[in-house]
Every structure is written in structure tokens, then in C-alpha cells.
Symmetry: C2
Subunit: 336 residues, 2 copies
DNA sequence: TGTCATTAGTTGAACGTTCAACGTTGCCAA
DNA sequence: TTGGCAACGTTGAACGTTCAACTAATGACA
């Protein structure tokens, strides 16, 4: 391993001078010495040691991307395409700015803190359900925090989210505007404080607007896989009066559409379905799925924008961005 | 920040003793002292500093997950669900074993080496196109390397791959067995040494088996988005004699099916389509897509198995696993 | 001639850990 | 009364870097 000392010896200067050259500190080193040092660095193949650097400077250039999961055996981290598109955008921008990305799933606030302290991380992206416990832990760390899709609003952290509530409201209103009155809601398991809860609340609010009574018996919660979607369909069959269905995730909407078709129920003739997310499959299913669009890549870019500003020490007046949604009309909803 | 020295001071022992307790080195410390130290660690909230640790021990407990991309502005890293499922499996297993995961996209071998050296990484997962240049760089690093879906076969590295060639062969043979003779091939851009090339070669080989001449004019390369798939469909329309189509990615197959439907071409009545990957959408499109199944989660688990064995210093006799594929018959192919 | 500023460096401690090489007891057998 | 040997430690250097504080030489100017 080549160290800064080797470069110093090779060029006949002190390690400090080499360090200064590496960091481009100007006005302290002659042009000739700079040239010599850079040559030697190339020739010997010197690569800075980040451990040493972060040990002495207590800044590591590492940003943590932490996903909080609730169940112990949840291995679905990043199976959701949402995460991949977002992380992809984050990784590339961070890299261009000289930062590194460390990935981690945590189950508790202690785990989170330990993780960040071990590596004296410079920043944190947090996604998943935000529990109160996290609050103090994160504030105590005193590093930039950007929450992604985590429903807590505080000036302490930056927040990148989506108008989940409004989007879901819009979806429901759309069905209502098409003459539907008996509208069900299907969703993967709704956890307190998550995006799915917001979407659920949006659905309820839209019903309330036009005084349609909320009926818990036509709210269907299941996993997202096709088998579970079939169970939802069996439930739906028990409520033949349902004419419209708001589904809080496209992937589930697609599964339900498949299940309905298997049971001889036509979409949109017999039942109208509207999804959420506008993932690529929405336009590929039959009929193409009417859904609520969100830009996941943009979400990642905005999150990293926040992070870079905070890392640069800027104080932001706006610490919150909530992406708006857009209803994409396709063919899975019909006028009653 | 609480250090090992603080714990030492608090309990009246030397830092070394604290270090020994932390590492569970037995026979050197009395039970009482162990108890005291552990108490103090809890009370003061001590968390080991990984930078210091890795500086002195030159082992960082960090594993790099590196994706090699060719084009400069390729921001698609991990948009592919393949990556997410695999990384998810890798992260959780690595975590259980006390390792950390760092993500990175690289464009050159130098970038790769610099990245790994900066953090004196303990291991490397490499995915993407393997160029010859990488070979020496990786060997020089002297750390465990597990290649995922990178087509180079050498005892120096572990290799987790898929029978892409055979899978694609099977897909093509299946169409042939159903009476098809004029069979096109559609794929995202084929790069030398990638999985897509293997799939392309499998297609060609299957044609050769039954002496169907290969025709470059019915090989369609495009991006994976719906717009590009429509272009493929326009091309296909110029070859009305095509009765079957092998598509090297489900997502593209679904896009093409949509494009064909828009053009009044029915699947499978007018043209049979077979995909590759068996991603969740395959069973959700209409008609459900006949495709080649692969287990991406298993791929991640096997990769991390290799890694953990190598990290433990074991010498493996088998350094290569090639997952087999399975043809899933659904409804997008018909008997001619 | 003396003072000050500028340029181009150097020195040495510090960051938090680990690890090889040393202490210091106390006990027991020869 | 010595020697040996566990048991339970301690000491101090080292890992590669940074940073505040210093030096040493040159030149300008009053």
C-alpha cells in the first residue's frame, strides 16, 4: 500500500505538503512541487485511505441509506421498484459529488444510531415507517437527514414525499365523477405512518366529501403477490354491488385485474379499477391501467439535492418537498 | 464521542483490556472485569469506531457492490428489478454476518480499484459487463470477488450466473416445437460479454440445431421503454411472415405485446411471444406471458454464500454456480 | 538598518484502535 | 528459597492522515 509518506519521501517534501497538494490548498506550494507530487502520485499509484482520513477529520464522506422495516424477517427491502429507481438516482448524484453510499436495513432506532456512529456518517437518507423513537436519535446525531416518504413533518429534517393523500383522493373522486358510489379499497398491509395509510385516508376523505358512508367491509388488505390478490378477488365477489375499486399500488391492481378476469369479472365493464404509482407495467396490462402517476426518479434527485445543500452547510428555508401526483387516464375505468 | 479510553478510565483498566473484552478474547480477563466493562459500555453508550478499526487492522468489514456500466450517462443502475431483488438478499445476509454494503457504479477499471482501495474493502460483488481490463485489477486487489452475471470464467473469482444461453435455447426450441420456423429475436441493446449476448447466442444456436437459417433482419434491438417497443413493432410489421418472437426480457416482451395489440396484431393468434426472466408482470399481462423463469433472490443468496465462505478463508473447490432456468408455459404461444 | 509581508514549506500531536511484547501477582511443588 | 506457571493484566508503537503552530528565506519599503 502506497501512503502519503511514500509520496513525500519520493519527492523530498513533508507529508503535510503532499496532503496540501491533494486537497488543492493553494498559495502554499510552488508550481514545481505540485507537479512533482502529482507525478509521484500517478507513478506510485497512490490512493488516499478513507479510514485514516475520516478518523482524523471525523467526516467520512459516507451517506447512509437506511430503510426501516418492522417485521423481523422482511426480506423485501428494495424489491419494490420504487426503491431501485430512487437509489439509482441518489447513487449517481452522490458519486459525482465525491460521496459514498452505504445501504442498510434496520429494525430499531438503536440499530440506526449504532450504524451511523460506527462509520461517523456524514448524512442519512431514511425511508420506511418513521416511529417516534427515531426522532431523538436522529436529532442527537447532528448530521443532515433527508426523509423519503416518511410521514413526519419537522423543520429538523428535510422531507421528500408525495401527495399520497391527495393522489388517492383524486383517484377516488375520479371514480365518483364517473358515477360510481359503491367503491372498495384494496391495499397491501397498511402500517401506521406509512404511505399506504395516507392513501387510505385520502380514499376515506373523498368518500366523505360526497357523503358516501365509509364501509370497512369493502376495504381489502393483503400481500402484493398474485395469490393474495386472488384472495382479494374472492372477497370482492362477495360484494357484487361494488362497481369501482381504488387500489393503493399498481402491482396489486394488476394482480387483482388478473384475478377478476379468472373469475369472469370484466374490467372495466363489471368493475372499474384505478391504481397508484404508474409503474411501467400499468401501461402494459389489459386493459391499460388508469392510475396515479408519481416520478420516482425525481424523488431521488430531490432528496439528494437536499442532502448536498445540507452537507454544504447551507441553511434551507424550505425543508419539505411534496411531489404532486397526476391522474393518468387509461382504460380500466368506465362511466357508469 | 465515547471511546475505548473512556471506558477504560471509567472501569480503571487499560484500553487493551477493553478491546479484549469487546472482541471476546477469553482467558485474559476476569469475569468481574468483563462485567464492569460491559456495564460501562452500555452506560456510556460506546460504539466502536470502524475507521480506527479498519485503519489499524486493514480489514474494514465493508463489501462493495459494484455495477459496471458502459455509457457515461447510464442512470439505469438498479432500475432493473433484477438488481433490487438480488441486492436485497445480499444486504440482509451480509448484515447478519457483521458486514456492511457499499454501492457503486463504475465506468472503468481504475475507478473500481480506487474505490476498493480507498476503503480497503474486504470483498467485492461485481455485476455488469466484464471487460478484460478488470481481470488484473481484481486479482491485484487480493480480496474475495464474486461475479454476478458477468461472463468470464476463471478459478480466481467466484461466479454466480444463469444458464442464459440454455434458457434462450429452450425458449427458441419451444417455439420450434410448436411449429414455428420464422422466429424473430427482440432485445435491449446487446453488449459484448453481457447476459443479453448469451441469450442472443442461445437463440441462434437453437435455430442452427434444426437448420433454420439465421436472418439478421429479424433481430430487433431497442431500449426497453414502451416507445421503443413500438418501434420494434413497426419493424415486425414489415415482416408479416414472422410467427414467433423470442424476447430477451419480459419487460420488453410486455411492451411489444402492447405495441402489437395497438397495431391489431393478436398474441398468440397472429404471433407467438416468449419472454425471459419471469418477473412478476409476466403473469399479469394479457395474455399471460410464456417465459423463462429465473430465481433472482436465490442468485443473491448464492452470491453471498460464496462471499462469506471466502471471507472465512475457506478455499472452495467449486467456484461457479450457474442457476438453471425453467420454462413457464402460459398463454402467449400457440401451436401452429 | 529594521520591520513587515509573502512564499514555501516543516514539525509533531492527534484521531480511536489493535497487537506484540512486556509486568505483576499469587500459588504450588521441588 | 527458589523456580515455574497460570491468571490478569499493562505499555507503547503503529495504522495513514490532518491541522495548528512553527520556521526560514526572500523582498519591499520606510
Amino acid at each position: 500500500m502506497v501512503t502519503i509518506r511514500d509520496i513525500a519521501k519520493e519527492t523530498g517534501v513533508s507529508p503535510t505538503t503532499v496532503s496540501n497538494v491533494i486537497h488543492g490548498i493553494s498559495g502554499r506550494v510552488s508550481a514545481e512541487t505540485i507537479q512533482n507530487i502529482n507525478d509521484a502520485i500517478k507513478r506510485l499509484g497512490y490512493v488516499p485511505n478513507m479510514s485514516a482520513r475520516s478518523l482524523v477529520s471525523s467526516s467520512s464522506k459516507v451517506i447512509g441509506f437506511v430503510n426501516h422495516v418492522i417485521v423481523k424477517d422482511d426480506r423485501n427491502f428494495m424489491e419494490d421498484p420504487f426503491h431501485s429507481a430512487t437509489i439509482g438516482a441518489i447513487e449517481s448524484t452522490l458519486r459525482e459529488n465525491g460521496y459514498y453510499l452505504m445501504l442498510r436495513t434496520v429494525e430499531t432506532a438503536e440499530e440506526l444510531v449504532t450504524f451511523l456512529q460506527r462509520w461517523n456518517m456524514d448524512g442519512l437518507f431514511f425511508t420506511g415507517i418513521f416511529k417516534d423513537k427515531f426522532y431523538d436519535s436522529m436529532v442527537g446525531l447532528n448530521i443532515p437527514v433527508v426523509l423519503i416518504d416518511s410521514y413526519i413533518h419537522t423543520p429538523h429534517f428535510c422531507n421528500v414525499g408525495l401527495e399520497d393523500f391527495n393522489g388517492s383522493c383524486d383517484a377516488t373522486r375520479y371514480l365518483i365523477s364517473k358515477g360510481h358510489r359503491r367503491i372498495g379499497f384494496a391495499s397491501p398491509n397498511i402500517k401506521d405512518g406509512g404511505v399506504l395509510q395516507e392513501r387510505f385516508l385520502g380514499y376515506k376523505a373523498a368518500l366523505a366529501e360526497v357523503a358516501i358512508p365509509f364501509d370497512r367491509s369493502i376495504v381489502f388488505q393483503q400481500e402484493m403477490d398474485l395469490e393474495s390478490c386472488r384472495k382479494v378477488c374472492d372477497e370482492i365477489c362477495k360484494h357484487p354491488d361494488i362497481t369501482g375499486l381504488v387500489v393503493s399500488a399498481d402491482i396489486m391492481a394488476a394482480g387483482i385485474m388478473t384475478g377478476l378476469r379468472e373469475r369472469g369479472i370484466r374490467v372495466p365493464e363489471d368493475i372499474s379499477v384505478i391504481g397508484f404509482d404508474d409503474i411501467s407495467l400499468a401501461q402494459l396490462v389489459t386493459p391499460p391501467l388508469t392510475t396515479i402517476h408519481q416520478d420516482m426518479n425525481l424523488k431521488g434527485r430531490l432528496a439528494v439535492d437536499f442532502m448536498l445543500q445540507l452537507l454544504a452547510g447551507k441553511t434551507l428555508q424550505d425543508t419539505e418537498v411534496t411531489l404532486s401526483t397526476r391522474l393518468i387516464e387509461r382504460e380500466s375505468v368506465r362511466q357508469l
